[in-house]
């Protein structure tokens, strides 16, 4: 165990990696989510309301993640 190389990264690097990873996950999820609602929903009003709620909640949270990353 002692001979194994130790990989120690600073906290900011780890958090930055997590942030970018999460951005990829979020983008993929959003594409799948958008595709489903555009193709399978039968109610335009419900689709619009869902999209507004989704982006209205997730974009500020992503911005908060980005801002807190800058403050690290």
């Amino acid at each position: 165990m002692e001979n194994l190389p130790h990989l120690i990264l600073p906290t900011k690097t780890i958090v930055t990696l997590v942030f970018y990873l999460f951005l990829i996950v979020y983008a993929t999820f959003t594409v799948v989510f958008y595709y489903h609602w555009q193709n399978y929903s039968m109610n335009k009003g419900a689709t619009t309301a869902t999209h507004i709620a989704y982006f209205g909640i997730t974009i500020p949270l992503l911005a908060l993640m980005g801002l807190s990353l800058l403050a690290l």
């Binding site: 799948v32 609602w37 993640m65 690290l72």
Partner: protein, 191 residues
Amino acid sequence: MQTKLYEKIELESDEVVITTVRKHWFVITVELMVIILFGLVPVFLFMGVLALPPQSIVSTFVQTGTPLITFCLATWLLMSTLAAVTSWTSYYLDLWILTDRRIIVIDQIGYFNRKVSNFRLERLQDINVSITGLIPTLLNYGIIRAQTASASENNFISYNLPDPRGLQSQIQAAMDARLTTIEKIPDAALE
């Protein structure tokens, strides 16, 4: 009203939609409440930590590591939001359509499992309704099972449908009307 879904499903000529049904509102409410509570757990923990004496190690970390904590909280809340959206999508896109000729059952299980099944009314044989438990009895939702005569079509079972007895009556009435139509015009069965 012609809608996107029906364009995808492609109703037959002169086919009339009698009703469309989603799962009972209580089901999605409980799911969303659990996700919201789960999402708020770290917020409550954070508030609890803030109540600790100022000299404690945890409290000192909270004061110095605020951006990191904010990042973690935002990540957690975002993950909870994605879970809630997935739950809502499954609920809303999961649909039951009763027409004067068939029952269309759309099962949306998550994002990558979608099943659309058609059951001809003239081939339905037995429809069972069961309402089990205190809350389903009080809120009037339950399970509908139906058997089909056709070997090529499976039997179906749908959970948590609102007013299952009313739905059963509607299906029975639609079945009777369909059988009457077929008796009068035998070619109707081929449509």
